[in-house]
């Protein structure tokens, strides 16, 4: 079976790869491009650990085929920080101890960043519903929600901790 040639943009860089027709975007990221920050928790779009941003929308990369990336712009967890400068969501996850095992964290970081790109002042309820597609089994979500709301406040230039 011949492989497909794909030209795309990942984390701001032009990327070319060969993939098989049945390979998911998550397989490509992890196994072909060594971008192992995106995690596979279920392979069926239920846990959100593989969340990436594709042309501005959050997508479970396990539900997308590698060939579908042609011509798209993709951001993975590896592309959220700017160099050594963490994104406010990442910074607030650390300050609020919003991770325990850290396995779901990449998906949450990507999904939360996308939320704050779209909504600068989300309510707690909006945040909870936005992140309802990301499973965390360790934290009970409490500190995650606080971290995201606090990151939003930081990005708005407000000091208020949640």
């Amino acid at each position: 079976m011949s492989k497909h040639h794909v030209t795309t943009t990942i984390n701001g860089e032009p990327v070319e790869y060969l993939c098989e027709a049945q390979q998911t975007m998550l397989d490509v990221l992890r196994d072909e491009l060594n971008l192992t920050g995106s995690k596979e928790g279920c392979g069926s779009g239920d846990c959100g650990a593989c969340t990436v941003i594709v042309d501005g929308n959050i997508v479970c990369s396990c539900l997308m085929l590698g060939v579908e990336a042609e011509g798209k712009t993709i951001t993975t967890v590896e592309g959220i920080a700017e160099g050594d400068k963490l994104h406010p969501v990442q910074q607030k996850f650390l300050e609020h101890a919003a991770l325990q095992c850290g396995f779901c964290t990449p998906g949450f970081i990507v999904a939360a960043k996308a939320l704050l790109d779209e909504n600068k002042n989300p309510t707690e309820e909006e945040t909870r519903y936005w992140l309802a597609g990301n499973l965390c089994r360790c934290t009970g979500y409490d500190k995650i929600i606080r971290a995201v709301l606090d990151a939003a406040a930081l990005m708005r230039g407000e000091a208020g901790a949640v």
Binding site: C42, D46, V77, L86, L94, A97, C101, I109, Y141, I144
Partner: protein
């Protein structure tokens, strides 16, 4: 030394960023499935489609002939092992059973039981090869339900399983592996003294630990027999011990490397894939990686036991308990070893009851072998006892918290399972609940409030840790327990406190089995207690050495040197007059004062302080759909000393949320053929962010004097009270008592309909 005086602490009790945090928020941390090796093959596991069947034959020839396939294995590739108790995991384990659980021998015992495995050059080829393995099964009658499995005519899983703990010893095999009992006082006297009695039956379904990271490993066996294992587990020493035994290899020939672990909650205190990858690697001569998918995780690993809980309580008219009786039937899954023992011991631990009788049964059936899950055994029996306490309180018209207050175990109370309590904070959790602002929130219609308490032992055990002082005055702490929820931070904080240097100058690592002394696994809420004790002692040994070096530089006696805030001082005017020497200055001169400064400590930590908790839960019941919404949740817990309070809160909030899932939604559902019907996160629905409110974690610090900083284990007891707290709140809201978990919308809706037919129908 003791650091119990909180006011003197500079680092412990603060909330710094965890040392491994940045790696985890930028996606660089390496979990089990992130490891790759040159020349690596991909392994896949063939699993049984039957709940119970004899394996007549397995033909692997076609799979082995598929281009790209490098090895195929079955049970024949593993040495037969004699029955032998193992003490390397959490809870009871038998090496033979573990071997048979990893790969079926003779019979498959549950849907999802591994029967063969292949290694190939790509995952797709490995998957294709599985389809080419021909297994000839003779399907046998199966049994799923625990009480069905106990019946005399039930299909028997193991011909050599004779019930232990009964006299006379049975002459016929059965599915009842064990009967255990605990007695205190004289139960007949208790019933004579009782003025009010209540007797109820409760049931729970198995639930999965639900860690988001599926099991994963890479194993490389060399031609010389040396083996390296990278895997995600709750204990690299556990992985090493089990693999050595199952493959018949010397422990020294295995080096187990701990990957970051993506959640475990007890479910990664045993192994599934590592022995298979090891056998495949040995056979193929190549490194082999195996990663489970989510369906395999549900069908083949975990879960926690389902159970039947029969409770009888007897009290005086003033509410004082005088008698308590408990009968527990716990599902062990396909092999003996349910946590019925701790279930028995935890059930009444919160209370001072003169006459107690407890009986528990460990029962096998055609389900996956149960694994430890957060306070294993305690949530089941406590759901029964704490629901029954609520029923008693309401029957007697006593406030449920007051009923607990007047019966609370205190220092000096003797528990039914033996120990006499000391330094326990149970009563304090009840009193803190009574004083909590939560109670002042008014409840609306369809809303209710429930309370429940819980207990977990917490353990100590064997731990090793090293503290190395680097040339620039920074410190490296080396320990052997996987960091599952922020324990690296706690280790660095305790070392920094002892050394008197900033937290940021201490770097903790979790080392492989060749780089640190033996350490028991991460489980039983033991790491901050036991490994923390080892880290503290290692840092203290380093301080002794630092003082010796300063004394050498000053040419005075080491006894004349004090250590404070990371500096050596002359102990008093008689010691001489010297400028203080900082740790950094001493480290710089270490080469000239005797060489590197470091210490390793190995201990078997004793004196773990038990965990006690009381929870308050407010719910709203949607009478149309039967859905329960958690409005408010407060979890009060005796934590000893919170080393890093944020991670203590996190343990409490996470445990509560798992408990809420157990209460409201999670369950294993089998079809009539014994096949699991909901092996995925869509149908096995764990709580999501929009299901929950903030969880208020209230930490009571009643220090454990047996730990240098007063720490008690905190991770497990939070999952014990929620099921009853939610059930009691549902009763408060609706007047309906839910005694069968989960209290899912269809079940609650049916109960609501049975209680009061919908007015619409009544009007018709």
């Amino acid at each position: 030394m003791s650091y119990l005086d909180k006011s003197a602490l500079k680092v412990v009790g603060t909330r710094p960023v965890r040392p491994d945090g940045v790696e985890k928020v930028i996606g660089r941390a390496n979990f089990g499935a992130d490891m790759v090796m040159p020349g690596m093959l991909w392994g896949k596991v063939l699993r049984s489609p039957h709940a119970h069947a004899r394996i007549r034959s397995i033909n692997t020839a076609r799979a082995a002939a598929l281009p790209g396939v490098r090895a195929v294995i079955t049970a024949d590739d593993f040495p037969p092992i004699a029955s032998e108790e193992a003490f390397v995991g959490e809870g009871p384990m038998n090496f033979r059973d573990l071997s048979y659980n990893c790969i079926a021998r003779g019979k498959v015992l549950y849907d999802g039981h591994a029967v063969a495995a292949v290694a190939a050059t790509s995952p797709a080829i490995a998957e294709e090869a599985l389809d080419l393995i021909a297994v000839d099964y003779e399907v046998l009658p199966h049994v799923i339900d625990v009480e069905d499995a106990m019946k005399a005519d039930a299909p028997v899983l193991h011909d050599d399983l004779f019930t232990q703990g009964v006299d006379p010893k049975p002459t016929k095999p059965s599915n009842i592996a064990k009967r255990i009992g605990f007695n205190k006082g004289d139960i007949a006297t208790g019933w004579k003294e009782a003025e009010v009695t209540i007797e109820r039956r409760y049931t729970t379904q198995p639930v999965h630990q639900g860690y988001i990271e599926p099991h994963a490993c890479v194993v490389a066996v060399g031609a010389d027999g040396q083996c390296t294992i990278w895997s995600s587990s709750q204990g690299q020493f556990m992985v090493r011990a089990y693999c050595a035994k199952l493959l018949g290899v010397d422990i020294a020939n295995i080096r187990a490397m701990p990957a970051e672990i993506g959640g475990g909650f007890g479910g990664k205190t045993l192994i599934y894939l590592e022995p298979l990858a090891m056998a495949l690697s040995r056979k193929s001569g190549r490194p082999v990686k195996i990663v489970m998918n989510r369906e395999e995780v549900f069908r083949g690993t975990g879960p926690a036991a389902g159970s039947v809980i029969e409770v009888k309580l007897g009290a005086k008219k003033d509410g004082r308990l005088v008698a308590a009786e408990l009968l527990l039937k716990y599902q062990a899954g396909a092999f003996p070893g349910s946590p019925v023992g701790p279930g028995c011991m935890c059930a009444f631990a919160m209370y001072d009851i003169p006459h107690v009788s407890i009986v528990g049964y460990d029962v096998v059936s055609n389900r996956p072998k149960v694994a430890a899950y957060r306070a294993p055994g305690a949530p089941n029996s406590s759901f029964g006892v704490e629901s029954c306490m609520d029923e008693l309180a309401r029957q007697m018209n006593i406030d449920p918290l007051h009923l607990r207050e007047i019966n609370a175990a205190k220092d000096g109370t003797k528990a039914a399972h033996g120990p006499t309590w000391s330094n326990i904070g149970y009563l304090e959790t009840v009193q803190a609940a009574q004083a909590n602002a939560h109670l002042s929130h008014k409840l609306g219609s369809n809303q209710g409030r429930g309370v429940a308490s819980g207990f977990w032992f917490n353990i100590g055990g064997e731990s090793s840790a090293a503290c190395h002082i680097n040339e620039d005055g920074t410190a490296t702490v080396v320990e052997g327990c996987p960091d599952i929820g922020g324990s690296r931070a706690s280790m660095a904080m305790m070392a920094a406190e002892v050394l008197g240097i900033p937290y940021e100058r201490v770097r903790p690592i979790v080392a492989d089995t060749a780089s640190v002394g033996f350490s028991f696994l991460t489980g039983g809420s033991r790491v901050t207690f036991a490994t923390g004790m080892a880290v503290t002692q290692a840092a203290e040994k380093v301080v002794v050495e630092l003082k010796k070096r300063a004394a050498m530089i000053w040419d005075i006696s080491p006894d004349a040197v004090d250590w404070k805030d990371g500096k050596a001082y002359p102990a008093g005017p008689n010691a001489g007059s010297f400028e203080p020497l900082s740790l950094q200055e001493i480290a710089l001169k270490a080469g000239r004062t005797g060489g590197p400064i470091s210490a390793e400590v190995t201990i078997n930590a004793q004196g773990a302080g038990a965990g006690w908790a009381t929870h308050i839960c407010d719910v709203e019941v949607d009478s149309e759909t039967g859905r329960v919404k958690i409005l408010r949740y407060t979890a009060i817990q005796d934590v000893g000393r919170a080393i890093h309070p944020s991670y203590v809160e996190g343990q409490i909030q996470g445990g509560v949320t798992q408990g809420i899932g157990w209460a409201l939604n999670e369950e294993y559902i089998y079809d009539k053929d014994g096949r699991l019907e909901n092996p995925g996160f869509l149908d096995y629905r764990v709580p999501v962010a929009s299901d929950l409110p903030m969880i208020d974690a209230v930490m009571l610090e009643i220090p454990n004097p047996r730990h240098p900083f007063g720490a008690k284990g905190v991770g497990e007891v939070p999952i014990v009270p929620p099921m009853a707290a939610v059930a009691n709140a549902i009763f408060d809201a609706t007047g309906i008592r839910m005694r069968d978990l989960p209290m899912s919308p269809p079940k609650l809706r049916a109960a609501l309909d049975a209680e009061a037919p919908p007015p619409r129908l009544a009007a018709e």
